[in-house]
């Protein structure tokens, strides 16, 4: 799945009434099956960019094309469907649902895509991230690292066409960090899935061929500014 961002801008309303520019991206592309690491400073707009690509947030202006479809022009329901069916998202804060077990959290990812929940696949993915012994544990009964690995399994369960990962290894130990990276990369490679991974860890970034600094192509400008 290819990704193309053109003239994408995003601002947030400030308490004083003004607008805080966060994104101003003239052009950014990701080829089908390509794996890219995005690095940037805290508050630099990385999460906002991922949210825009995921269709969770709409840009103020510009186009977000995925396989030629301009996501920002789609109605919200269609964006939701698109996200459920074709995108995987590993959140920085895991975002597991506390009422559900690890297995149910993974199955939940399938439920909203309209697919019939594939229990065997969910268990297989949890096994791959080393959580076979935690299938029926709720997030509150798991360590931070285990929760993160569960969220990785959930992001992969629908075999997405584009995987967005926001600091997926930030909260796991070194051994599991590599496991998760290997799992993400191999899964994406196997199914020709594009991967856009945000990280600040140089040891993670160092494993990818293409590393982009957000500041290099994101030039937010205040109104009246240069």
């Amino acid at each position: 799945m290819s990704l193309e961002l053109r003239n994408v801008t995003k601002t947030y309303r400030e308490p004083g009434g003004g607008r805080l520019p966060v994104l101003n991206i003239a052009n950014f592309t990701l080829a089908a099956g390509e794996q890219v690491v995005l690095v940037g400073s805290s508050g630099g707009g990385k999460t906002t960019l991922l949210n825009i690509i995921a269709g969770i947030t709409t840009p103020d202006e510009g186009q977000v094309r995925i396989d030629g479809t301009d996501l920002s022009q789609l109605p919200e329901a269609a964006r939701d469907r698109f996200r459920a069916e074709r995108l995987g998202y590993v959140f920085q804060t895991f975002n597991l649902l506390p009422a559900f077990t690890a297995l149910e959290n993974v199955l939940l990812g399938m439920s909203f895509s309209g697919k019939r929940p594939d229990r065997a696949r969910a268990i297989q993915l949890l096994d791959q991230v080393g959580l076979k012994h935690r299938l029926y544990h709720k997030p509150s009964q798991m360590s931070v690292g285990e929760q993160q690995r569960t969220s990785v399994a959930r992001a992969l369960v629908n075999t997405p066409r584009l995987l967005l990962a926001d600091e997926p290894t930030a909260n796991v130990d070194a051994a599991n960090q590599q496991n998760i990276l290997d799992l993400l990369r191999s899964s994406c490679k196997e199914h020709n899935v594009s991967l856009l991974l945000v990280t600040h860890a140089s040891e993670v970034a160092g494993q990818f061929n293409r590393v982009e600094k957000l500041a290099d192509f994101n030039k937010p400008v205040r109104d009246g500014g240069a």
Partner: protein
């Protein structure tokens, strides 16, 4: 995973709050079910299906008391009528069936009402198209008795059991010496017959003290039929004449020194009395004519057994039921508000969860439906629990109500009106769920995820 499962998981996650709100609905529904079922039982008990006679004839007094005592045996009899009056009724050309009823005593054990009547009583349908079914032999000897199913069950009595009568009801302290023998068990009818002991009227009169003293009986009968009173000589002559014919004797001396076990004289008709008379008439118009004729006199009354009960249900029981239903509906409504408050308050804390579901691809309508489903689970779940509790309470209370109120309560009674509860609860659940559902619907995903 479907929406209901997701909603159920969310409900379970807030276990205590969910349980308390569901229980509050359950209590409201339980009370409502009890009111409906008990009213239904009363209605069934007192409606026209429970008796197959056109008129009950008894002494002047409260028509309701006459019906309650004769049909339901839950009120003391008004007074008695001379046996001759029963014979007159029987001869009336408008009457097809006349059954005398004599009451006032109870069983020595268990305080079940004793009703003296004729064997013909059991050959007539006790309610339209419902016949007595008897396990045992014919009811023809003077001291034969039939017992209702509940009497048999509670006392563990069977054919062949001997029973004695306590005079004057449960408060009476005199137990008659005469023994009746159970010759038949009446199969369950779901009516007051189940908790009644029927004895042969002939035997009933032969019990010491049940035949009125002669001079009193003569005075009473003449007074009843509006005949002039006799002077002392005439009275003595009349008594002599009756004694010569029937061997009757005067009981003015009471029970002392009397051999109760040997009662060898024949009771003169003038000494007999009936508590009431059950009549079937040739036509409904004939029954109404007879009823209005009796109303003109001042000694007896004919009562349509349905009307006083319907009046009771309409004027007293009905409004009480409606009041109770309104109160229980208020309880359910307050419970509903409790569910609303519980769900709505949880929305602030759950904003992030909703945003996560939306980020995973759940549409706005999906999260709205999940919140609505949670409301439905709590309302309907509470309703089902209330239904079970309500019927459980009726099941447990049935024998107590029977003892206290004398009304037979089917512990498994179900009212079709209960079926209305669930659409109403569903509607309430939807109304409750709308506002929290809208909050979920409008959740800003990016903002909630970052909070």
């Amino acid at each position: 995973m479907n929406l209901a499962t997701i909603a159920w998981k969310n409900v379970r996650q807030r276990g205590l709050a969910s349980s308390l709100t569901a229980i509050s609905v359950a209590l409201g529904v339980m009370l409502m079910v009890m009111v409906l079922v008990i009213y239904g039982i009363l209605q069934n008990t007192f409606n026209q299906r429970s008796i197959n006679y056109d008129l009950i004839v008894g002494p002047k007094g409260s028509p309701l008391q006459l019906v309650l005592s004769t049909v339901y045996h839950i009120s003391p009899p008004i007074e008695n009528l001379p046996y001759r009056f029963y014979e007159d009724m029987k001869k009336d050309p408008r009457v097809t069936v006349a059954i005398p009823i004599a009451m006032g005593d109870v069983t020595d054990k268990g305080n079940f009402p004793i009703v003296g009547t004729l064997p013909e009583f059991f050959k007539i349908e006790y309610a339209p198209k419902r016949e007595f079914r008897v396990k045992g032999t014919e009811f023809h000897q003077p001291f034969d008795a039939y017992i209702g199913s509940r009497v048999a069950m509670e006392n563990k009595w069977d054919v062949g059991t001997k029973l004695k009568l306590r005079h004057g009801g449960a408060a009476g302290d005199h137990v008659h010496d005469e023994e009746f023998t159970v010759v038949g068990l009446l199969q369950a009818t779901g009516t007051p017959h189940d908790k009644t002991v029927y004895v042969n009227l002939e035997g009933f009169y032969q019990i010491q003290g049940h035949d009125k003293p002669l001079n009193e009986a003569i005075k009473r009968e003449r007074e009843f039929f509006g005949e002039p009173p006799l002077n002392d000589d005439e009275m003595a002559a009349e008594i002599k004449k009756i004694q010569a014919k029937f061997g009757a004797h005067d009981h003015a001396h009471g029970h002392e020194g009397h051999d109760h076990a040997h009662h060898d004289h024949q009771t003169a008709p003038i000494q007999k009395e009936v508590t009431s008379i059950l009549l079937q008439c040739k036509t409904p118009i004939a029954a109404r004519l007879l009823e209005s004729e009796l109303k003109k006199g001042n000694k007896a009354q004919g009562v349509n057994p349905i009307l006083p009960m319907q009046a009771l249900m309409t004027t007293i029981v009905g409004p009480i039921q409606q009041m109770l239903l309104v109160m229980t509906a208020m309880i359910v409504l307050v419970s509903g508000i409790g569910i609303f408050v519980s769900i709505y308050n949880s929305m602030t804390a759950r904003r992030r969860e909703i945003a996560i579901m939306r980020a995973l691809g759940a549409q706005r309508s999906t999260v709205f439906a999940i919140i609505l489903a949670e409301s439905i689970i709590l309302c309907i779940g509470g309703g089902l629990l209330g239904l079970l509790l309500g019927h459980g309470m009726v099941f447990v209370a049935a024998p107590i109500v029977e003892v206290q109120a004398g009304v037979i309560v089917n512990p498994l009674a179900f009212e079709t009106a209960e079926l209305v509860l669930f659409p109403v609860l569903l509607l309430m659940a939807v109304l409750i769920g709308i506002l929290p559902g809208m909050t979920a619907y409008q959740t800003d995903v990016a903002e909630s995820l970052s909070s």
